[in-house]
Symmetry: C2
Subunit: 243 residues, 2 copies
């Protein structure tokens, strides 16, 4: 790759934007991984640059060398989370969109697709330990949105809601942009996602150590029963309205 200067115009030494040596790439990745842990566990304000550097196994100036400042590292973490989530969700989004190209789908098929969508969402949001460390991060952004939130919303949250709303819209026989469809969709996804911010409450109520394996399967099963009931009666109610 073409060589660039590691010295910025203002004379400060920085990791070249075009990329550097392999060693630098490795160090940068280690810092982000460490930062996700520390920010996730302590939040932005209580995570000190010394904690971050120690966890990453680098010296303090390395944080400035690669990220300009603490805030820059935080945004790099948001970018990382966004990319990781996009990777996981891509197949789900693509398959859902492809399947919905077909105008008329049997109701049972749509319900199956919705249940499968929710199962895979549960696997991603609850089944992966990596998300434990992202919860405080994401929720801090919900409470006081920064530039980091725009990334997460535009590339993760909104696409997930839109894809699910497409399914829900079909089942309710309304456009995905319908307000009731949006509300139903948010509350559908909310039944999975709630175990992240309310994790400790839920674990204590259920007497569970975590949401792994069989316990996650129980969550899915319960949600399946609710969804099957919810969209079964919705159709009956809608048809009674037409008569």
């Amino acid at each position: 790759m073409p060589r660039t200067k590691a010295v910025a115009e203002d004379g400060r030494r920085r990791h070249p934007a075009a990329g550097g040596y392999a060693r630098g790439d490795d160090t940068r990745a280690r810092i982000v991984a460490a930062a996700l842990d520390v920010f996730g566990q302590y939040g932005f304000g209580e995570a000190s640059t010394r904690m971050l550097a120690e966890k990453a196994g680098v010296t303090l100036p390395a944080l400035q060398y690669y990220f300009d400042n603490k805030e820059g590292l935080y945004l790099a973490c948001a970018e990382h989370i966004t990319q990781r989530m996009e990777m996981r969700l891509k197949a789900l989004m693509d398959e859902t969109a492809a399947a919905l190209m077909q105008r008329e789908l049997p109701r049972a098929r749509l319900t199956d697709m919705l249940l499968d969508f929710l199962d895979r969402l549960a696997d991603i949001f609850l089944g992966e330990r990596e998300l434990e460390k992202w919860t405080l991060f994401i929720i801090r952004e919900q409470a006081q949105p920064t530039r980091a939130f725009d990334l997460i919303f535009d590339r993760v949250m909104h696409p997930v809601v839109r894809a699910c709303a497409a399914l829900v819209g079909r089942l309710l026989e309304r456009p995905a942009s319908d307000r009731e469809v949006k509300l139903r969709t948010l509350m559908l996804i909310g039944r999975i996602v709630i175990f992240r911010p309310a994790r400790e409450t839920a674990l204590r109520v259920l007497g569970w150590p975590d949401f792994a394996g069989d316990r996650l399967a129980l969550v899915k099963k319960s949600l399946h029963a609710q969804v099957a009931a919810e969209f079964s009666v919705s159709r009956h109610a809608k048809q009674r309205g037409r008569t």
Copy 2:
């Protein structure tokens, strides 16, 4: 009241545990109110003692005089939140318990009670602006529980879940301690509570400025339809199973 010393045994000057003059009570209350705002907006780590003192209109040593340290103020806030929530929820808990003293209640009555329960919960959790500032607080405690969380869980979260589970248990014809009842209950309450941690996502999806007035009514209406459907089919499914 019997007079006590404002000087602790270690010689440090502190607000007497038994209470002090009216002026001191007023100042303490102002500090807690200010701290709820600041902690709620910035979180524990990013809220400095200088910000807290300024917002309360006191000098720095006042924080130590009344709360020993920053952490002590934080715990005082947790106590305050817990008491405020208990106040709001007391009538709801009492009425629900009293109504369930009656062994056999018509199903329609139980459903109405559940819907009313959820409506009032929505009024408390989403309708009161005061809770906006408590969200970051409560969620930080979910992510990394401290002594503050024990207070909130034991006196607020758990009682709410138990009361709601009692209703859900009746409707599902299972004991409130049943795991499926607990899961259903958590996901029921979750559909309301999710709009707190996922507030910004939900507002952007819905194109709403907030969850006030008519918009809160829309949330309730949507939830009503879901719940009516969910518990209507549950009964049918259960009766078919018996046959």
